[in-house]
């Protein structure tokens, strides 16, 4: 059996995979942000049951391996009776996953705004909604930014698991190229390098933001 030479077209193919990797991570971040902000607000609700539902959701999703969550989404669409393309099912699964982590990060950020701030808002006669909107959230966003960027890095790395259910993102393209060229070491190291080149700058940004936050 003949193997192909590991050459430039393979690298282009993997770069296309990288584009999908980033695309999938951005979709998950967007979907996760919407559900995650709702979850964070639920987790700081005054109603005990609303808080419990949010906490249970976070506990279950964080306690399940992402791979298993992906399998459930991948196979589960049929059970709900929808004809969903795998890419859509996986995007939804990643969004649910991201929501749990972002919800937890943002709940923590809201809680770390000093209590005096909401007491002050209350003393000034602001409604709870207005206090959230004008006093708490703007300060919480600042605290939340570094860990959110950090989670985005985690999300980019974790989209690699979509390769197991045959989404052709970077890791999947690397598998295909590795099988075609039989140069697994070079191919997977190149894939690792691509991930590193995307993730490392973001890691640095996250760290810089955190340092700036600690200074102020």
């Amino acid at each position: 059996m003949m193997f192909q030479e590991f050459s430039l077209p393979h690298v282009y193919f993997m770069l296309q995979g990288l584009a999908w990797t980033i695309g999938l991570a951005v979709i998950a971040l967007t979907g996760g942000s919407i559900a995650g902000s709702l979850l964070a607000l639920m987790a700081v609700s005054r109603n005990r049951w609303v808080r419990r539902v949010a906490k249970l959701y976070i506990f279950v999703v964080q306690g399940t391996p992402l791979l298993v969550t992906l399998f459930i989404a991948y196979f589960g669409a049929n059970y709900v009776g929808f004809e969903v393309p795998p890419l859509v099912a996986i995007s939804i699964a990643f969004s649910f996953y991201a929501a749990a982590f972002l919800g937890e990060i943002w709940r923590g950020s809201i809680h770390s705004v000093p209590i005096g701030q909401s007491e002050g808002a209350h003393a000034l006669g602001l409604s709870r909604f207005d206090a959230m909107r004008y006093i708490i959230i703007p300060q919480a966003v600042k605290i939340a930014t570094p860990p959110t960027v950090g989670f985005f890095v985690m999300l980019i790395k974790n989209t690699s698991l979509a390769s197991v259910v045959s989404i052709t993102e970077l890791t999947r393209t690397a598998q295909i190229v590795s099988n075609a060229t039989f140069k697994p070491l070079q191919v997977y190291l190149l894939a690792a390098l691509f991930y590193f080149l995307v993730c490392f700058p973001l890691t640095i940004v996250s760290r810089k933001l955190e340092r700036r936050l600690h200074k102020s």
Partner: protein, 223 residues
């Protein structure tokens, strides 16, 4: 709309439990090795020598900015190209050790840096040997201080063990893949597995808390 039928899954519960046991064994071994590696790397990071520090930082950044599954593939599929063939199980444990070690070392370093200089000086003035100072004054209180973060990290490591099913290690997820191949009851299988992972996480958390009480009783003294 199909109906859920757990019969085929529950009749193979013994297989799933053996998978869960392997998941636990692989994870516990990886945690132990990762803890040793992490301590070494944390100490290297605080070394006087720039080269030693660089090696430690390069390792940490390389691991933290690439996906676990790619690291696993480099070890399992890539290393044979340079004459290092490993079976799936050792590959999995090695990959998990390197992966867990990088994150854990950052946690331990934070703990070591939180130990105050005065403590170490007090140890010296009491005539303790360097090894004893490291053991009793630096590393033990350091790990005691960052224990909760370490527990979270180990839980993530347990969950990431599901990924090693991709190189055909018959742990919980791998067994699940087999069972869904036989029964075609994919949804049921993965729901049961998800529940089993949640249970394993709870078990691990409980176990690590017990260890915390045994190893660091001073954290629980009522003052």
């Amino acid at each position: 709309m199909n109906y859920l039928d757990f019969g085929g899954v529950f009749s193979r519960m013994d297989l799933l439990i053996s998978g869960a046991i392997l998941t636990m064994q692989v994870s516990l071994l990886a945690m132990l090795f990762a803890l040793c590696l992490a301590t070494l790397v944390a100490v290297m990071q605080l070394s006087r020598f720039a080269t030693v520090r660089f090696v430690a930082v390069a390792y940490i950044e390389a691991i933290r900015n690439t996906p676990f599954i790619v690291q696993l593939f480099v070890i399992y599929f890539g290393l044979p190209a340079i004459g290092m063939s490993l079976e799936p199980l050792p590959s999995a444990i090695l990959a998990m050790t390197f992966y867990g070690g990088a994150y854990t070392s950052e946690i331990i370093r934070a703990g070591i840096q939180a130990v105050s200089k005065g403590q170490i000086e007090a140890g010296k003035s009491l005539g303790m040997s360097t090894l004893d100072i490291f053991r009793y004054i630096i590393i033990k209180p350091a790990i005691a201080a960052v224990y909760p973060s370490m527990v979270s990290q180990f839980i993530l490591l347990l969950l990431s063990s599901s990924v090693v099913s991709a190189i055909s290690v018959p742990e919980l997820t791998g067994i699940g893949n087999d069972i869904q191949g036989i029964t075609l009851r994919n949804m049921e299988v993965y729901l049961v597995i998800a529940a089993m992972y949640v249970a394993l996480v709870a078990l691990l958390k409980g176990g690590l808390t017990l260890i915390e009480r045994r190893v660091f009783p001073f954290k629980f003294l009522k003052g």
